[in-house]
């Protein structure tokens, strides 16, 4: 754990407690089976709004707390532990685009509603199945046209932060916006969103797009951290109770060493994820590197842990009744979002000039 201030410790503990009591994995299962059109549970989202988590990266003048990214990451991590299906990270990162952007109108109109959880927002950047900042969407006379693929929380979003050729725009749900659900393996909301001469408010240039994508990747890595940590400890608990050959599985040395290796990777993962969030909060000049380090490490480690989770649970890990598969499927989606490990390794090399 990074060195946290009192506020952060409180926030983390509160989020952990809320996630464990109000949003355990069973809540996600219920939501999955109910399959509401928006892709999230309005009651849970209302509670999150009341706790003020939507405003963690929003300045106080717009109703937020401006705690920063490490704080946001701590909350998202706790929700990730239990696969909470909340639009919090999408909304918070979209809000950060508005915060960093230059449109006072957008700030006035949207930030208070996003901080309080009244509205949901999300990023609409990628246009294909893999992350890519070079986009085709165009704005002419203040009207945006283009099609965005796999927009997370697209089903329930009230506002979209959309990447066009020349930078980032805000588009409200409504005329010229068509949302088509994509049913994916993680049973979370993803949608294709088509913009057809939709009214768009400019937030900033392509540097803003890049900066926002980095924030999205860092916050995604925080969710992955929570998932990996939880998946690891669930596996550990299972090994400690499952008996085979008259022996508790956790006493098998081959498994002990695999768990030791995983814990080692988890420690490194935590450092890189917290490091990226701290880099953003500190406004460091190498945020991009810190983010690539975090997202690549998070991808590799979460992959290791979730695949091992299924394997070490054995047969029951293959069943829908147990949770291993839920972590596995969500992990694969998060690995792919905002650049997978290979993408960020290449980027890290380029940023370091080799």
């Amino acid at each position: 754990m990074a060195a946290l201030n009192d506020e952060q410790v409180m926030l983390r503990d509160m989020a952990r407690e809320w996630a464990d009591n109000e949003s355990p994995v069973t809540a996600f299962r219920k939501l999955r089976d109910a399959a509401p059109a928006t892709g999230f549970d309005p009651e849970a989202w209302g509670a999150i709004g009341q706790m003020g988590w939507g405003g963690i990266v929003i300045p106080e003048e717009f109703g937020g707390s401006a705690f920063g990214y490490l704080s946001l990451g701590l909350v998202v991590e706790q929700l990730g532990r239990n696969l909470a299906a909340s639009p919090l990270s999408s909304t918070a990162v979209a809000a950060s685009a508005i915060v960093m952007g230059k449109s006072d109108k957008a700030k006035q109109e949207w930030l208070p509603r996003l901080a309080s959880g009244e509205a949901v927002a999300t990023l609409a950047i990628d246009e294909g199945p893999t992350h890519n900042l070079s986009v085709q969407a165009k704005v002419t006379d203040g009207k945006l046209s283009g099609t965005k693929a796999f927009v997370a929380e697209g089903d329930g979003a009230d506002a979209f932060v959309v990447a066009a050729e020349d930078g980032l725009y805000l588009v409200a749900k409504g005329d010229g916006v068509t949302v088509t659900s994509r049913h994916m393996a993680d049973s979370r909301s993803h949608a294709e969103v088509r913009f057809d001469n939709a009214v768009a408010e400019k937030l900033g240039g392509i540097e803003l797009t890049a900066a926002v994508a980095d924030r999205a990747a860092a916050v995604t890595a925080a969710e992955m951290l929570g998932m990996a940590d939880s998946a690891f400890h669930q596996t550990l608990d299972y090994l400690k109770q499952r008996v085979q050959f008259g022996q508790v599985l956790s006493t098998f040395q081959a498994l002990q060493h695999r768990m030791a290796k995983m814990l080692t990777e988890l420690e490194l993962m935590r450092s890189t994820v917290e490091g990226a969030l701290e880099a953003i909060d500190a406004g460091r000049s190498d945020i991009d590197q810190a983010v690539s380090l975090a997202k690549a490490t998070a991808g590799d480690t979460l992959r290791l842990v979730t695949r091992e989770m299924v394997q070490l649970y054995g047969g029951v890990g293959m069943t829908d009744e147990y949770d291993a598969g839920l972590y596995l499927k969500r992990a694969a989606v998060l690995e792919a979002m905002w650049g997978n490990a290979a993408y960020h390794r290449d980027r890290f090399g380029r940023l370091n000039d080799y």
Binding site: Q311, G314, E321, K329, E335, A336
Partner: protein
């Protein structure tokens, strides 16, 4: 847990086929080849060319089309679905060279072998070895003709890798056993006609208290409950036995011999999981990882796959697959005249599992979000299959003896590393 997993055979059969292509000897057995060619031409319905029934073993029996039925009956009647089984029970009665010719001739015209399942791969060979004459006459022909579906009753909720701790009890009632207990991972249990099961006939001994029993799935007291997998499919069941009467004729071998017979059967399984099976499939033909990568990711100016990091891993995977094909070929050559599956099958099982899983992981990585679809619009059939293949593939290192169990076998039986004292 143990079951037949058709797509692993696909991997390995593809690998075998590619090894075979590289080393195909000059034509031999020309007369028999001619005979096979003519028979297939006369019997294989052209409408089935290039299709396959491999998926049916996962998804349960589809309704056979008239042509499919015709083809199954033809092959069943000829006995060529199980070409090397004895003619007296309906098998093909061919030698291995002839069997290979049949396989090649089927492949040549895009025909598949419609006779498969656990009866062919596991139970049949075992019954031919341990069954009485009566038992063989009763059970083999139905398997040969593809009419009777068998499932396996081995694993129990508390007895996974440690199979010998199984608790399902068969109480001796004179002329019959009364069976009570619960099995799990009975593959296709919801569609099976019969079950070969390991049951406990003696509670005082662990291994020696186990017997091998054949149970009718429609007997009173048998209930099945499909298990939903992470892939959304339900190819397995939990099976409950409540006061099920099983006639004593259905005991294979003698009481207490179940562990020996059951282990032997698992060797047949492991061997079929590692490429011994004749059930060819072209599911993956023209669908290699590099070709998928080219389609989804494109190539760079030098003609190389454009993500260099991914490309390196794809090449490693392709090399691994090539090395595996060469190893299967080598194992086959070395095993000549050496009947029965060997401990080396554990190595093949693990490599096969690794290749299957690596391929699926690479494919979903290549496809990105498009490779993680679940249902509905926006995903092609191929993409949705990819998601299932990836998830379902996680089973191949668990079922049929997990990779950990195989590593124990390799260490102990091949390398002579002893048990912890």
């Amino acid at each position: 847990m143990s079951t037949s997993i058709p797509f692993i055979q696909n991997v390995e059969t593809d690998a075998m086929a590619s090894a075979a292509e590289q080393t195909r000897p000059a034509d031999m057995g020309d007369d028999f080849r001619q005979e096979a060619r003519e028979w297939i031409a006369a019997n294989f319905p052209a409408s089935l060319r290039g299709t396959d029934n491999a998926m049916s073993a996962i998804e349960g029996p589809g309704d056979e089309t008239p042509d499919q039925r015709k083809w199954r009956e033809a092959m069943g009647g000829k006995g060529w679905g199980v070409p090397t089984w004895p003619k007296e029970y309906g098998g093909g009665g061919l030698d291995r060279a002839q069997a290979r010719i049949v396989q090649e001739e089927l492949a040549r015209v895009g025909a598949y072998n419609p006779i498969g399942g656990m009866g062919v791969m596991m139970f049949g060979p075992t019954l031919l070895e341990y069954g009485t004459e009566e038992q063989k006459r009763e059970h083999i022909p139905g398997i040969v003709r593809g009419e009777v579906r068998w499932c396996q009753g081995y694993s129990e909720p508390g007895a996974g890798s440690d199979l010998a701790s199984l608790q399902t009890f068969a109480e001796d009632k004179g002329d019959h056993y009364l069976v009570n207990g619960q099995k799990t991972w009975t593959s296709g249990g919801q569609w099976a006609d019969k079950c070969f099961a390991l049951v406990r006939t003696d509670k005082t001994q662990k291994h020696a208290g186990i017997s091998f029993l054949l149970i009718d799935m429609d007997a009173e007291g048998v209930e099945t409950k499909p298990i939903r997998l992470i892939s959304g499919q339900s190819p397995f069941c939990e099976t409950f036995f409540t006061n099920v009467r099983v006639p004593k004729e259905n005991l294979v071998g003698h009481e207490g011999q179940g562990w020996t017979i059951g282990t032997r059967l698992l060797q047949h399984e492991r061997s079929s999981l590692s490429g011994g099976s004749g059930s060819a499939s072209r599911m993956n033909a023209g669908n290699s990882v590099p070709s998928i990568a080219k389609k989804y990711r494109g190539i760079d100016a030098d003609g190389r796959l454009s993500d260099a990091d991914l490309r390196t891993r794809i090449i490693k995977h392709e090399m691994d697959q090539r090395a595996f094909a060469l190893t299967l070929r080598r194992a086959a050559l070395e095993a000549k005249g050496n009947a029965g599956p060997s401990a080396a099958t554990s190595i093949m099982k693990n490599v096969g599992a690794r290749i299957t899983q690596d391929r699926a992981e690479l494919n979903i990585e290549i496809m990105g979000m498009q490779g993680l679809g679940w249902e509905g619009e926006g995903f092609s059939e191929e993409e949705l299959t990819q998601t299932r293949t990836w998830l379902w593939g996680k089973a191949v290192s668990i079922y049929g003896g997990s990779s950990e169990i195989q590593n124990n076998v390799i260490a102990k039986r091949i390398l002579g590393m002893l048990d912890h004292q």
